[in-house]
């Protein structure tokens, strides 16, 4: 799975589900939606719910290290007007003072802001930053499953000192999130997915059955086989070792050692 959305509320999820044309997966709790390359989990409110839903989704879809994870949700702010969208650049857990720092591997037009993670809805907004209840836990959990640089959080301001959270309805939330999706897709989702897909194309797996049918490979040796095949292909115009050249090898390790020796004798060509 390439792209994972993590949202707290159904009303935040609705426009994303529509935008990416996701379908519900039945019998899951938390509720999960997906298409071929995009999935979304509705976590419920709060850090604990968010972290456990991230773990659930990663397990359910067997997500690899190269997935993009994006948290989208509403947040409060002292003065930012309702509808302002921000990419989180630092999250501080107010209760402990601990902070974490997302890493963005490109420039973006989305404004960036500090964020404060609290365990109950905030009305005072004493600090100059976004206030919300999931992102710290989201980052901590998602970083366990993928590369730090691919994990980000987008917040849309729903309330401030003048426009309180009490005045907001589900449909307003859906509209706030929905109105920013195209911009978020263009300026965050697409660039991140491009980076990941480019790297994935380099590590695409070769068809190793030809070799595993002939020799027995332990799990460790399977990994070594993938690496060696990739290196062999890099040095041989994408050709793989001809099994006929190695029919004298009785064991997988003999085959791997032979191919590796063969590689070590090559001279590289720089272009």
């Amino acid at each position: 799975m390439l792209l994972h959305f993590v949202v707290a509320l159904h009303c935040e999820a609705a426009p994303i589900i529509e935008f990416y044309k996701l379908k519900s997966i039945h019998n899951t709790l938390p509720q999960v939606y997906r298409n071929e390359s995009v999935c979304l989990v509705v976590t419920g409110i709060g850090g604990l719910a968010c972290a456990s839903a991230v773990g659930y989704l990663a397990g359910l879809l067997k997500s690899d290290k190269c997935g993009v994870w994006i948290n989208i949700g509403i947040a409060g702010h002292q003065q930012f007007s309702r509808g302002t969208v921000c990419l989180v650049r630092k999250v501080t857990e107010l209760a402990t003072g601990k902070a974490i720092y997302p890493s963005l591997p490109f420039s973006t037009r989305i404004p960036r802001a500090d964020c404060f993670y609290v365990d109950r809805a905030e009305v005072q907004f004493n600090e100059n930053g976004l206030y919300e209840m999931e992102s710290f836990a989201f980052f901590k959990a998602a970083w366990r499953f993928c590369t730090i640089d691919y994990v980000h959080s987008i917040k849309v301001v729903s309330d401030n000192r003048l426009e309180t959270a009490g005045q907001i309805t589900h449909s307003i939330i859906s509209s706030l999130v929905g109105s920013q999706l195209e911009m978020v897709d263009r300026n965050l989702v697409v660039p991140l997915c491009c980076i990941v897909e480019n790297l994935r194309s380099e590590t695409s797996q070769f068809d190793i059955e030809l070799y595993t049918d002939k020799w027995h490979f332990s799990e460790t040796n399977r990994l070594r086989l993938s690496r060696i095949l990739r290196q062999f292909a890099a040095l041989s115009d994408n050709q793989l070792p001809n099994i006929e050249d190695y029919k004298h090898c009785n064991k997988a390790t003999e085959f791997l050692n032979d191919v590796e020796s063969n590689l070590q004798c090559r001279e590289i060509r720089l272009i």
Partner: protein, 337 residues
Amino acid sequence: MSRNTSYMIDTIFIEKSARNFPLAKEVLKRFSSAQHIECSHYGEVFNRHGQNFRVQKNHPSLILAVKEGEFVLPAPVEYHVGGRHNYYFSHMLNCPYDCRYCFLQGMYSSAHYVLFVNYEDFKNDIANITKINSKDPSWFFSGYDCDSLAFDPVSNFVNHFVPFIAENSNARMELRTKSTQIRALNKIDVTSNVICAFSFTGELANRSLEHRVPENSKRISAMAKLQYRGWPVAVRFDPMMYYQNWRQDFSQLCLNLFKKINPAYLHSVSIGAFRMPVNYFRKVRSLYPTESLFVAGLHQKNGNYEYGLNIENELLGEAQAIVGQFVEQDRIYTMRD
């Protein structure tokens, strides 16, 4: 990506304790439109697990930090150009270039630049060491974990350190660089105890392995300008890479180089074959799984991945002979473990 160094930094992390250093203030002023994000310690951003060096290299952030602990360290035994007391220091971690063979890719989990702003602490350490080794000059190598000059317009390293070394007759400093960034050196007085060492690989390796590094011809010109002004200059052929036609490539490089650089006034030449600690090598290989450089001819030996003895002897021996056609042998140093 352009081959010119770019300082398009749009995110700066600042350690709280670094904020009031004059250098930090200068940098923050220079990049006033960048995102300024305060952190407690640079390790919170730089040393985390799970970062992708390769991905970050496309868009590194700058971290302004205060260096703690030891500022100047003893250099590895083989790391010298004739001096008895050899040390290195890193006012910065990482560099703007993206050389495929660089060990920093394996050493650090992050490609962000860390600039230590407490230069005075480095200087104090240098001064103390030179006092301790008062009978002989002490050598300080500055381009170990970074490029000494590539970031100079931001770090102002030359203006801070070269006059300081110049005042200290018992200190020698090597500025090691792949850049053409000589503006600051051109504006200050020449000093005989600062050596400007330019590292080169053959044209093919420069083009295909040294991404964002200026072309050899431009760097040779920069070096020639410094030599013309009277700066001691040196050449570093380290690491030497083994590839088809490396010999012709290297010979051509030497011809081009010594057409512009007067070997009679060259401080030194050092030659070293590619080698990398095993842990770093494995990490770099996994970052670039289709890079042929990390496959052919390399063996695990003495905790390093390095060329087998035959290749190493061929590289070092022949390179020494080629350089020897231009430079006296007593100024050629080979780096062998």
